[in-house]
């Protein structure tokens, strides 16, 4: 079997005296959706920021396709094919879809000093990509602010895929969305996985995770609680694990098993 796209072992991250991660291990392979579950403060954010090059691990192994790496900046992670789509910071509402799509990686044409963005090409690509997602309003010049949350999230993912990401890190892409929007995003995640990308899907909604995930890694208090394939674990077990077990079970009993 080929080496996993990303594998980390025993990652430890300290911020001064605060221990944010105290030994996390996880891996994601091509064509796999790994769901990273954990309650608030479990260390999900720190972990993905480490994977995407924002933070550097204090100690631990970090391998991309079997080679040890150490990213100094998000740019380096991006160049290695690790793209992160942040929850609400992915797009700039006042700018057009095209401008957002190519932001930071604008294709240029023309001779210096007349180098300029190849707007015709940008518009064409953006329109095609929007079509693939199935966004109904097809004017790539409209401001992103006019799109729904789900559409924005999908375009952000499409952008990462277009620019050659091998691993997608999605930070709670569904947490602020309604039901229809969520299914749109989940469907798109599945589509991306089928293309052979590895997806790391961060969420604290077990239902969403279970819908698209192949593997589940649960974090608690900066540690890996365990990693399970979909066949090994049921949804409510996952839910209990995520909340640290017994407390939620008690609350769940009190509320008549509805949590």
């Amino acid at each position: 079997m080929a080496a996993p796209l990303i594998e980390v072992r025993n990652i430890i991250k300290h911020f001064g005296s605060v221990i944010a991660l105290s030994g996390v291990s996880m891996k994601v392979s091509s064509g796999e959706v790994l769901c990273l579950l954990g309650d608030n403060g479990a260390g999900k954010s720190t972990l993905i920021k480490t994977l995407s090059g924002v933070h550097q691990p204090t100690t631990g192994d970090f391998e991309v396709e079997g080679r040890a790496v150490r990213f100094a900046s998000p740019r380096q992670a991006l160049d290695a094919g690790i793209a992160t789509v942040f929850q609400d910071l992915a797009m700039i509402p006042l700018m057009s879809v095209t401008r957002n799509f190519f932001l930071g990686r604008e294709p240029v044409t023309g001779m210096w000093p007349f180098t300029h963005i190849d707007m015709g090409f940008c518009d064409r690509v953006t329109r095609e990509e929007m079509k693939k997602i199935g966004i109904d309003v097809r004017d790539p010049h409209q401001a992103v602010g006019t799109l729904s949350g789900g559409e924005r999230q999908c375009i952000a993912i499409a952008r990462a895929v277009y620019f050659g990401a091998k691993v997608l890190i999605l930070d709670e892409p569904t947490s602020a969305l309604g039901v229809a929007q969520t299914s749109m995003v989940l469907k798109y995640i599945d589509q991306v996985r089928k293309k052979g990308l590895g997806v790391i899907f961060i969420t604290h909604n077990v239902r969403h995770a279970y819908a698209v995930g192949n593997t589940f890694t649960v974090l608690n208090r900066g540690k890996t609680l365990g990693t399970y394939a979909k066949s090994e674990i049921a949804m409510d077990e996952l839910q209990n694990l995520m909340a640290g077990g017994k407390e939620l079970a008690t609350v769940s009993d009190e509320l008549g098993g509805t949590v």
Binding site: L89, M95, L103, R105, V108, H141, G145
Partner: protein
Amino acid sequence: MTTPNPMQDERLQKASLVTVLMRRPELGAIAGLLVVVIFFAFTANPAMFSLSGIMTILNPAAQLGILAVAVALLMIGGEFDLSVGSLVAFTGLLLGVFLVPMGIPIALSIPLTLLAAAVLGAINGQLVIRTRLPSFIVTLAGFFIFRGLSLVGLKWATGGSTQLRGIREAGGDSFLVGLFSGNAFSGLFAWLASVGLIDKFPNGTPKVTGIPVSVIWFVAITALATWILLRTRVGNWIFAAGGDANAARNSGVPVDRVKTGLFMVTAMAAALVALLTVFDAGSTDARRGVQKEFEAIIAAVIGGCLLTGGYGSAIGAAIGAVIFGMVSIGLTYTSFDSDWFLVFLGGMLLVAVLFNNYVRKKVTGER
């Protein structure tokens, strides 16, 4: 039967003309310009719209416009610069000191002045970025510091006078002086007069001998800024930096460098205005550029810039500056007291801000 165009998606909603127009940030400025022109067409002496009248309007409009376009870029990038007016005085003083007491040749003094402005702008930018304070406050400090330095420096350089003279003489007959003062296209205007297309004096010299060079600079800078904003990567980054600096950083935009660059451009625009006014008058004083920082911001806002950044236009700001020049000069062609200017200005600003907010909500679909 029509052949299907591969570029055309049948589901592509044709955006209505109104929507397309509304997306142009300079729409408000154009509407404002129309209102102002119509107002003066009915109230002002027709001399206002003669060639010489228009040149009288354009000269101050151009100087303000150069600042306004730079300030508009900075505002789109999400920052303010309240120190531009004071920088006009300070860089003017630097130029004067380089030329007169220090006797540095003009070909060196001009680049030195621009370089000094760039450094001061970079300091402004770095202060804003490193302290993470609002640029409003940081540059308000600059507003006082540079004005104060201009006053102190002028007295020190002249031995107590409030004016530094002899700059034109120090410039000599270098062609560089002509780049920043006087009129351009005088040959063309002389020819136009000789064939009777424009008014001339009885002796044959045209009443308007050319276009003030400041207007040429103004038009060129507006065109360049517009091209950069709409067609280059840096332009995209400026919109992004002002629209949402975090999202821009996550997308790999060097936000801090873009912002520092914008502060440098603004300061250099102030230095250019200083060059234009100082060579025109042949002297410099510490009162130059007073209130220009506010006028530039007002022109930019009339031109469609949002105070919150991320949206606006260089052409809009240029039109805003023309409206400004038209009203400030135009009132003297009417029977109104020209002090109504300030009332008009405040009213215009208020209307522009309300209009811009409305447009932004339309554009982004905010509710």
